[in-house]
Subunit: 432 residues, 2 copies
């Protein structure tokens, strides 16, 4: 059997699996690598899934009418009204993103840094990823000026860029691109005739409700595909449900037809019982919105406490405004890390966190960062407890940092950073 | 937005959706197009899924250890013992087949006729499908001599065939390739250094238990990947669960690594609650094996009754030995069809069934047949009733053909064929 080019395993999933193995082997580990949300299924959704257990028909490729109608309502409440006929559900937004790349064809512009799978998916789809850096604090959106340059250059070189992927709010930086940046991105995409695929899976996890993330679909509705799911806001990653909102335009409808055709050949339909429970969730009855709000508050408190430790240790980062991620830059500590630990880049830094301290984080290179930046991504979504009881307590606590298991995890980050940097253990988080 | 090459919608799923629309519009329709199994979820599996509704973690990309261990046992009981570490679960065997094509790379030999999605998937994966005809009655396995010729020619022409897909038992023909054919296929694949991907989703639906389907994995264990799922034997298509068995060889383990990497980038993991219920099913406790046996008996009785109508009408077909499919050839009626109906090929014949009689069938062209064969594929899996009560009664009936709703559907096929061919309405099925 001939051996084709290597395909990288998803860095987040690989790191999580490696850490789970070490934990089972009895090691003391702290997982900050993958962004899986460690919170229980909301009871009403558990009941809805259980009640749908007799559903075994495929149903429509694009998802059940009930699900698509509920999803259209979800988007309408966010200023993105859409015909349910232009909604496509799939077994996770990851699958939808890949199917979109196949359906659109051509090469793919990805932000730097960006989620581990965009570039890998582009390569699997036979495309070349075209990396374009973000501007500081504007995570997930390629700098519009550099986007223009890169696309013009790529076309001159014979490449065929047709789509730009953006992440609003952003993974890995935890920032939210400003309305102005999103508008400029939309204008530039129109000028370059690019489809925008806007991954908005963290849309419900912006801490400040007075400054929600702005979708490029507001500014370039004719060419923006929006994707989301229930993996982050409701911790339902293991249920595998994602949705896409196609543009209400002639090319948008043509893309819809192609996307459904790809879906019919690759996955047939999303899991039927999950569709029924997901339709209930996307309808956003009060218990669902309350759960999402509680999760958001929990992420914010824990992320900010951990961010304070990184800041105290001397790492730089744009203020986190959403998600459960930090993306600290240890550049100010470069000399110390080199002299004391022999660490010269993000990969070695992530290795140090893992080998010396049992702390799983991901290096900047996993997010497509070139060169040798001393950056890592850390997620706090595994801090909430290992049992449903603890996780529920974390959601319900007025001060989750006072819960001993969360306190221990956050303190551990402080200890590790103090040891790493040679500083005293900081005590920035007020004990209550 | 530039418009890339068209992607065909899955013919089976498209036909089912079109027929469902006509039924909702009040038309009298009989669906024989898609092969979805119209039977209820076995109660114990419904209970297992309901009990697993709190499971929301991704778990390992390849599926939970419990599921992979259960699947290894399922294969061991069929003479295909395997390390659970070489089992990969996915959201349907369709997704696994596609991921395998991506992971193997190169061009893909497909049998003619064969399932609608193999060639479409090969094209989506950037490969060229290389069609190789089957020998009569040996459905799903390319004629080994013609396979050798085609691969030698393709390589001489600069193509890169690396894999041959086979279907044992077969869709669309409902036949099972003989042990001798499978052995020759395996030998030829070894000679040509091709991976064999053996789609065995109908493996539990061979009517004669004394002559089970023979897997190429028995003859070429070092290079055969086997896929299956619970879609056909337990009617769980809507649950989306499939599994693959990788070869226990050095290239097999390398392919396993690549397959899991592709899975990690495209779908993360199969739906968690479904995995738990599927693990129970693959463990095959008595109620599961009894249900599978009852389904098999039901398919056999109904398919044979319908096949008798086609035979009486003058269509030819190899005897059906498995599945719920018929693949009748109307060549003996070519003159009549041309003169009376203006029908000259399978597409027009399927159109006539649909437009004039409201009977959904698929033309041979959907299965890759070139030329103008007067063949169609008909599935009987929608005949068992539209309610769980009727479907359960169908499973439990000693003589399902005596149930009025099944009788009506089977009789309707006879009426349609009589009208189509100008013959008297046959009454081959004994009324009880």
């Amino acid at each position: 059997m001939p051996e084709p080019a290597p395909i990288p395993m998803s860095a987040t999933l690989a790191a999580d699996e490696a850490l789970a193995r070490r934990r089972r082997a009895g090691e003391r580990v702290l997982s900050m690598a993958g962004g899986e949300i460690g919170l229980p299924v909301l009871p009403v959704l558990r009941e809805r899934l259980a009640a749908a257990a007799a559903e075994n028909a495929y149903g429509p490729v694009a998802g059940s009418p009930a699900l698509r109608t509920a999803v259209a309502g979800y988007w309408e409440r966010r200023g993105l009204a859409v015909d349910p006929g232009l909604v496509v559900a799939g077994p996770g937004s990851k699958s939808l993103l890949f199917a979109l790349l196949l359906a659109i064809g051509g090469d793919v512009v990805v932000p730097v840094p960006s989620w581990v799978s965009y570039a890998a998916q582009a390569r699997l789809a036979g495309a070349r990823p075209i990396p374009v850096p973000i501007r500081p604090g504007q995570g997930g959106v390629p700098d519009p000026d550099r986007l223009r340059e890169a696309v013009v250059d790529a076309r001159a070189a014979g490449q065929d860029p047709r789509v730009v992927v953006v992440t609003v709010p952003d993974n890995p930086t935890g920032t939210v691109a400003s309305a102005a940046t999103v508008r400029r991105l939309a204008d530039t995409a129109r000028e370059l005739d690019l489809v925008i695929v806007s991954d908005e899976i963290y849309g419900d996890l912006v801490y400040d409700s007075s400054e929600p993330a702005v979708s490029p679909a507001l500014h370039a509705p004719e060419r923006t595909v929006v994707t989301t799911g229930l993996t982050k806001n409701l911790a339902l990653g293991g249920w595998r449900t994602g949705v896409a909102r196609l543009p209400d335009s002639e090319p948008g409808r043509a893309l819809h037809t192609r996307l459904v055709a790809v879906a019919s050949q690759i996955w047939s339909s999303p899991p039927a019982p999950v569709q029924t429970a997901a339709a209930y969730a996307f309808g956003e009855p009060p218990e669902v919105t309350e759960r999402i709000a509680a999760s958001r508050r929990l992420h914010e408190k824990v992320v900010r406490a951990v961010a304070a430790h990184f800041a105290a240790a001397g790492a730089k980062a744009a203020p986190v405004a959403a998600t459960c991620y930090l993306y600290p830059d240890f550049e100010p500590l470069r000399e110390h890390l080199a002299q004391v630990h022999g660490v010269h880049d993000g990969d070695a830094l992530a290795g140090l966190f893992s080998e010396r301290y049992g702390v799983g984080v991901l290096p900047a290179s996993a997010f497509g960062e070139p060169g040798r930046p001393l950056r890592i991504r850390a997620a706090t979504s595994h801090f909430y407890g290992t049992t449903d009881e603890r996780r529920t307590a974390a959601l319900e606590a007025a001060d989750p940092l006072a819960l001993p298991w969360i306190r221990t995890a956050v303190d551990r980050v402080g200890e590790v950073l103090a040891d790493l940097t040679g500083a005293d253990v900081p005590a920035l988080v007020p004990h209550s």
